[in-house]
């Protein structure tokens, strides 16, 4: 007797059972909803000078006169870049345009300053009381990192070579918080 030959229909259609997949998804969605962050938040680090720390800093400054950069900011006068070098103050003013701070010019000027003083990474920030928090953050952004791919040399003590970085003044200190 010859064995019966089964015929397989390769073109047959069948319905995939999606119910278990849907069940998994229904459970996953609330879990992910609970741990989702719809607004991504970041932080800006600033060190506040403590009374003792400030005194130590002042002592250090008096022993060895170092170059320091201060950013003065007020709604009336705009932004002033003050470079204190060898007992003298070099002031570069960037006035406000139509009542708004000219952050593009501030950035360009800060790039020039960084090119001149590549070893300085810290700036002192001295805003006046009327400056809005939003504008302070914008100024800090402009000072922190170079925007247009401009890079600055930094000496890497570990490799003993000079490397390039986009960072200009990442360390920003509010110097007038403790003033009366």
């Amino acid at each position: 007797m010859r064995a019966k030959k089964y015929q397989i229909d390769h073109n047959s259609e069948f319905e995939l059972d999606l119910a278990p997949l849907l069940a998994v998804m229904v459970k996953l969605v609330p879990v992910l909803l609970m741990s989702s962050a719809f607004v991504q938040m970041m932080i800006i680090e600033t060190e506040l000078p403590q009374v003792v720390q400030e005194a130590i800093q002042r002592q250090e400054q008096s022993k060895d006169e170092k170059t320091s950069i201060t950013l003065e900011m007020s709604n009336a006068a705009g932004v002033k870049i003050v470079i204190h070098e060898k007992g003298q103050n070099l002031v570069d003013s960037i006035p406000a345009k139509d009542g708004q701070f000219d952050f593009q010019t501030v950035h360009a000027k800060l790039q020039e300053v960084k090119k001149k003083y590549p070893e300085i990474f810290k700036v002192d920030l001295r805003p006046s009381g009327d400056v809005a928090y939003e504008n302070l953050v914008k100024l800090m952004d402009e000072a922190r990192k170079s925007r247009n791919q401009t890079k600055f040399p930094v000496f890497d003590s570990q490799s003993g070579k000079s490397v390039e970085t986009e960072y200009m003044f990442p360390e920003i200190v509010f110097v007038n918080t403790l003033e009366g």
Binding site: L22, I43, I44, Y133, M140, F174
Partner: protein, 164 residues
């Protein structure tokens, strides 16, 4: 011959297969969207109603710290209201009579935290996460910074939203 009334053939206990393909499609899209916004950060920062944070291009992720929220009308520490503001400035009752920059309830609360939660690293290091409204003037922020600094919290982290 009597005519029989037409009766449709309804099976009362019949089952039918629900087409869930479109629903699965929808859930797949939803799942991808939620996976994109999934937060792996262990620090939870809750937004405060009516507060608009400034945007920044800072690359730093939030770290743990004492959360101070400064809205146009109140100041909160870890969601607990401690002082009130009017015209974006602290009310006289919350400011020390001898020092106009010293916010008394803020100092008391931070001092209490420093004593009670010594074991927490962010307390011992003096870390503060400041969430302030974008329109807040610096003279009000300065009072918070000044008081926090005097209370032994000199590490200020400003919370911002991601921007250009």
């Amino acid at each position: 011959m009597r005519r029989r009334r037409y009766q449709p053939n309804i099976k009362k206990n019949s089952t039918f297969g629900l087409n869930i393909t479109s629903m699965t499609d929808m859930f797949t899209i939803l799942l991808v969207f939620l996976l994109q916004s999934y937060s792996t950060s262990d620090v939870e920062i809750l937004p405060v109603k009516g507060m608009r944070l400034p945007s920044s291009n800072t690359p730093l992720n939030p770290v743990e710290g004492v959360k101070i929220n400064l809205t146009k009308d109140k100041m909160l520490i870890d969601q607990k209201e401690i002082a009130t503001l009017s015209n974006s400035d602290f009310e006289r009752k919350d400011v020390d009579a001898n020092d106009s920059n010293f916010i008394l309830p803020l100092f008391q609360e931070l001092d209490k935290m420093a004593k009670e939660m010594k074991d927490k690293k962010y307390i011992s290091e003096g870390r503060v996460l400041l969430q302030a409204d974008a329109s807040m003037p610096y003279h009000t922020l300065r009072k918070v910074m000044y008081t926090a600094s005097l209370a032994g919290f000199p590490q200020l982290k400003m919370v911002t939203t991601v921007g250009q």
